[in-house]
């Protein structure tokens, strides 16, 4: 049986795939510890570029950018999670209604429209209604494209929950809100957290849309890094990249454990 699943060459291909995915990241990590200012010659192990990033002359700029990124990702993911949870309840526990498939298409619209088109459209929109670009415009744009990413895990989770839980609660005269709050929401929690984490990382990751809609003097980490990279890849960029890489790894690990926890509870 297991022999039937095995194809020669598939293991080497997997190894190749992993090497390809990891090699550039690992090399950047290694070189971020390179003492030499020449970025390709190895000059010994050193933390000098990390010191540069955190305490150097441009530290304030990167700190502000990181702070902006964090605030935006936090708020956008929170809003998107709330909106997506509501939508999932309506789509999966709201019976059938006219415009249901249209609603579903609308929720997924941010996934279907290429990012650069979303960026252009949002810029044109804010500019033609005369709305001053700033942190708020970035936030609004991020909430919108985070909704489908939050929706997918939440809806998947809700679909796996039997309807008799909330029906039982409502048979006992719990209000709809209490049935949700006390019965359904705890059951949905792994999905909600997974949705939040996914939306958070998607927001943190975004460059194009942010670059189009950001206001004067406002940078997020990706736009700050992009601006710096345009003038050449410096070692401090590698140090920042390594830090961001670590944050991402932390997040995957977190969501991995949330998932496992959710599966165990089932």
């Amino acid at each position: 049986m297991s022999n039937l699943k095995r194809y020669p060459g598939f293991l080497p291909m997997t190894i190749f795939c992993l090497i390809l995915l990891y090699a550039p990241l690992l090399i950047v990590m290694v070189y971020s510890f390179n003492e030499s200012a020449s970025i390709t010659r190895w000059g010994g192990f050193s933390l000098v570029w990390y010191r540069d990033v955190f305490f150097g002359i441009e530290a304030a700029k990167y700190k502000a950018a990181a702070w902006n990124s964090l605030i935006i990702a936090m708020s956008a993911a929170s809003c998107a999670t709330v909106i997506a949870t509501c939508a999932a309840l309506a789509m999966l526990r709201g019976g059938s209604f006219t415009g249901k498939s249209a609603s579903f298409a609308l929720i997924n619209l941010p996934l279907m429209v290429p990012e650069i088109v979303t960026a252009v459209a949002t810029l044109i929109f804010f500019s033609s209604i005369g709305f001053q670009r700033g942190l708020l415009t970035i936030l609004v744009a991020h909430i919108v494209f985070c909704i489908p990413f939050a929706y997918l895990p939440i809806a998947a989770r809700l679909q796996g929950i039997e309807a008799h839980y909330e029906q039982a609660a409502m048979d006992l005269y719990a209000s709809r809100w209490r049935a949700f709050r006390l019965v359904l929401m705890p059951l949905m929690m792994p999905g909600i957290i997974a949705g939040f984490l996914l939306a958070f990382i998607i927001s943190l990751d975004d460059f194009i849309i942010t670059n189009f809609v950001k206001g004067a003097g406002i940078e997020t980490l990706p736009t700050a890094i992009f601006g710096a990279v345009k003038q050449g890849i410096k070692p401090d960029i590698m140090a920042i990249s390594t830090c961001m890489l670590m944050v991402s790894v932390l997040f995957v690990t977190a969501s991995y454990f949330v998932n496992r926890l959710g599966n165990q509870n089932n």
């Binding site: 039937l4 598939f10 090399i27 309506a90 019976g95 909704i147 709809r176 460059f207 991402s248």
Partner: protein, 305 residues
């Protein structure tokens, strides 16, 4: 994108509140995405002001410029303008090639992972997901660093004596291709993995009992069953590749423009021609919607069968 279209609701417990529950998503996406896209369509028919900016005056000049070449002084008989069609063509084949390469590498990987015993499977999956979660900009910058003329890859190839002088990879179509392939590879692996994981291997057993060769089993029996996953993976790679900006901009330089770079230059660069940028974005969006429409049709037909 093969999301969860709820066919029949298990429960209608929240039916009375569904309007209010749907309202936030209707409002946010409708107002901040659907309306802006329509506005973009309007913008593509406006006139560019001389020094930049937009005049609210109907004009076909953006589309005219996209498709027709009227010479330097604008008074020659119009010919077909190949420049922008060429950029679209380059984007299409780059995205297509990236999709094929991702499929060639991604399918075996997904298959391999899905057929691991369950305790090691999650570890393999974990390894594939990490790069997917790492910032796309950082991954592209890493690739740029790796393949530059004096970069680690060239140094290493020279050190082992495979080449004598650095190979120029940066600022070529090859670099862009590598960047796209590298960026979107996880998008191919994950949906195929999901499809293979659900696959019923009893089919293979039956085929083996009938002495069908393994590769034919893969081609004739497995592939049709996991096809939805494969197609979803292809779309998830092709669509973002088509409109990619970071890979062509950072790895391709100014001579290997793709659609994304062309659009970006109209809004963020010196060109400052918003109506033309809106028109190009509109053409891109139309192509993507056609691709998605064909996908949805074939998906619907497949589930009818």
């Amino acid at each position: 994108m093969a999301g969860l279209v709820p066919s029949s609701g298990k429960s209608a417990a929240f039916a009375p509140a569904r309007i209010w529950l749907m309202l936030p998503s209707w409002a946010s996406i409708g107002f901040f995405l659907l309306l802006p896209v329509l506005l973009m369509l309007v913008y593509s028919f406006l006139t560019k002001e001389f020094r930049g900016g937009v005049v609210w005056e109907f004009s076909l000049s953006s589309y005219d410029r996209f498709f027709l070449d009227r010479g330097l002084f604008g008074d020659e008989p119009p010919q077909i303008e190949w420049t922008y069609i060429a950029i679209f063509w380059r984007s299409a084949w780059q995205a297509g090639l990236a999709t094929i390469l991702c499929l060639i590498v991604g399918f075996p990987t997904a298959w391999f992972i899905a057929t691991r015993p369950s305790h090691t499977r999650s570890l393999w999956l974990f390894l594939i997901t990490i790069p997917y979660w790492v910032n796309l900009l950082i991954r592209t910058v890493s690739m740029k660093f790796l393949i530059r003329d004096n970069g680690p890859l060239n140094e290493w190839l020279m050190a082992i004596g495979l080449i004598d002088a650095p190979i120029t990879m940066i600022n070529t179509n090859f670099a862009v291709q590598l960047g796209l392939f590298y960026s979107y590879l996880p998008f191919m692996v994950l949906p195929i993995y999901a499809a293979v994981e659900r696959y019923n291997f009893a089919l293979n057993e039956a085929a083996a009992d009938l002495y069908a060769p393994k590769w034919r089993v893969l081609w004739l029996i497995v592939l049709p069953v996991v096809r939805p996953g494969v197609i979803a993976g292809c779309i998830l790679v092709f669509v973002p590749s088509l409109g990619a900006f970071l890979a062509p901009d950072l790895l391709g330089g100014a001579k290997n423009w793709m659609i994304g770079s062309l659009i970006e230059d109209q809004f963020k660069g010196a060109a400052g021609n918003w109506p033309f940028g809106a028109a190009v974005a509109m053409v891109l969006l139309s192509i993507v919607l056609v691709v998605l429409f064909i996908y949805a049709r074939s998906h619907a037909r497949a589930s009818e069968q």
